[in-house]
Amino acid sequence: MNKLITLVLLFFSTFLFAQIPAGYKQVKDTLAFKQKMEAQSKLVNTIESDFTQEKYLSVMSEKIITKGHFLFKKVNMLRWEYTTPLKYLIAINKDKMYIKDNGKVSKYDINSNKMFKSINEMMVNTVQGNLLTSKDYKAKYYENEKFYLLELTPLQKGAKDFLKVIQLYIDKTDYAVVKVKMIEPSDDYTMIDFSNRKTNQPIGDEKFIVK
């Protein structure tokens, strides 16, 4: 009997160990981390950054790489612009969303469409690192020397259909989100790397209106 219990314990401990990403350990004081993250987020009023997006599809030999620039301004203003190899722009201005594609601008009311609302929430909260306070995700906290790694598992049925887990890599020095990896149930993923990040530089409101 004892042998069986040992075996079961061993199995579960291996299982738990396997869940932790390589090179990372679990954060002990998650409350302190959350408080610190929240406090840092309050200090940030604007963010400007370049990004590189990698789409990994298991059947393709190459990743699809797209690059661009993004701007964020409190409260709830975001400009997400692809520049290579395609030109495509999404801008969120409070409850309005603009999409500029092929020179054509479409304007939407975010509240009129459930999908736009969730895109808005996910994008705005991701760049701020605010997803960890959301009730829609179950969070796990890991760290290594340089980064905190947050693993967020969606709890709502709609999101679970296309998203297995979101990984947020957060720089330990300034609590900035440096990398986001969105993994699909099939294990294909989208990874976004942020670079040349500047915070609290003045950004005019007109950047978030697309004509």
Partner: protein, 214 residues
């Protein structure tokens, strides 16, 4: 009554036009264009390459924009995946010989008639079923296009190769001489079209593909 007369007149007018649509094509039996007297080579079947397109699908007033990637896996096996710009997968199709596999699809696309239509459009473009179908060769009166006519169940697909450039510039998917879908292939560079437009004439569906990378 007036409306009935008018619609009958329009119907007659259109049927006359369509009857004449392929009238300009004659059976090809000359030897001066013998290089066109063969099954066309699939344009996507080049060294197992992948092609990335900026894509817009406009269906009944709704727009889906994103990136479409095609990859030749085996000589007659292609994978076609459509994602949003932000990376969310919308559909994942596989065309192997004459078989089709739906690997994934979001609920917005998961409507049998829409899926079947898009599947057929891509299949015509990939030219995976040409060898299996009954076919014939035609040529237009002006000797500008060599046309490969391939039977596709109740339909016929006409592949128009421009004689001057040897490029497939147009594909028509027709039923009883009425064009249901026109695929226009333009801006050729290195034997590959940079722009492809798939325009349906009987339903409100338009697919635009603009090459980003090959």
């Amino acid at each position: 009554m007036k409306n009935l007369l008018l619609s009958s007149f329009i119907a007659i007018l259109f049927s006359c036009c369509t009857l004449g649509h392929y009238g300009r094509l004659t059976d090809y039996n000359s030897h001066s264009y013998s290089e066109f007297f063969k099954i066309p080579k699939p344009i996507f079947g080049e060294n197992f390459n992948s092609f990335l397109f900026k894509t817009n699908i406009r269906v009944y007033g709704k727009d889906f924009s994103g990136l479409l990637v095609t990859k030749q896996m085996q000589p007659n096996d292609y994978r076609v995946i459509f994602t949003t710009e932000l990376g969310m997968k919308l559909f994942d199709f596989e065309f192997k010989d004459t078989a089709f596999t739906l690997h994934y699809c979001v609920p917005q696309f998961n409507r049998p008639a829409l899926l079947k239509t898009i599947q057929k459009d891509i299949e015509i473009l990939l030219m995976t079923k040409l060898n299996a179908d009954a076919h014939s060769f035609l040529i237009d009166k002006k000797r500008e296009y060599a046309v490969f006519k391939s039977k596709d169940e109740k339909y016929c697909n006409y592949y128009f190769t421009e004689i001057k450039t040897k490029n497939i510039v147009k594909i028509e998917h027709s039923k009883r001489n009425t064009v249901k879908t026109t695929l226009t292939l333009t801006n050729y560079s290195d034997n590959f079209p940079s722009a492809i437009l798939i325009q349906h004439h009987d339903i409100k569906l338009k697919i635009e593909l603009n090459l980003l990378k090959k």
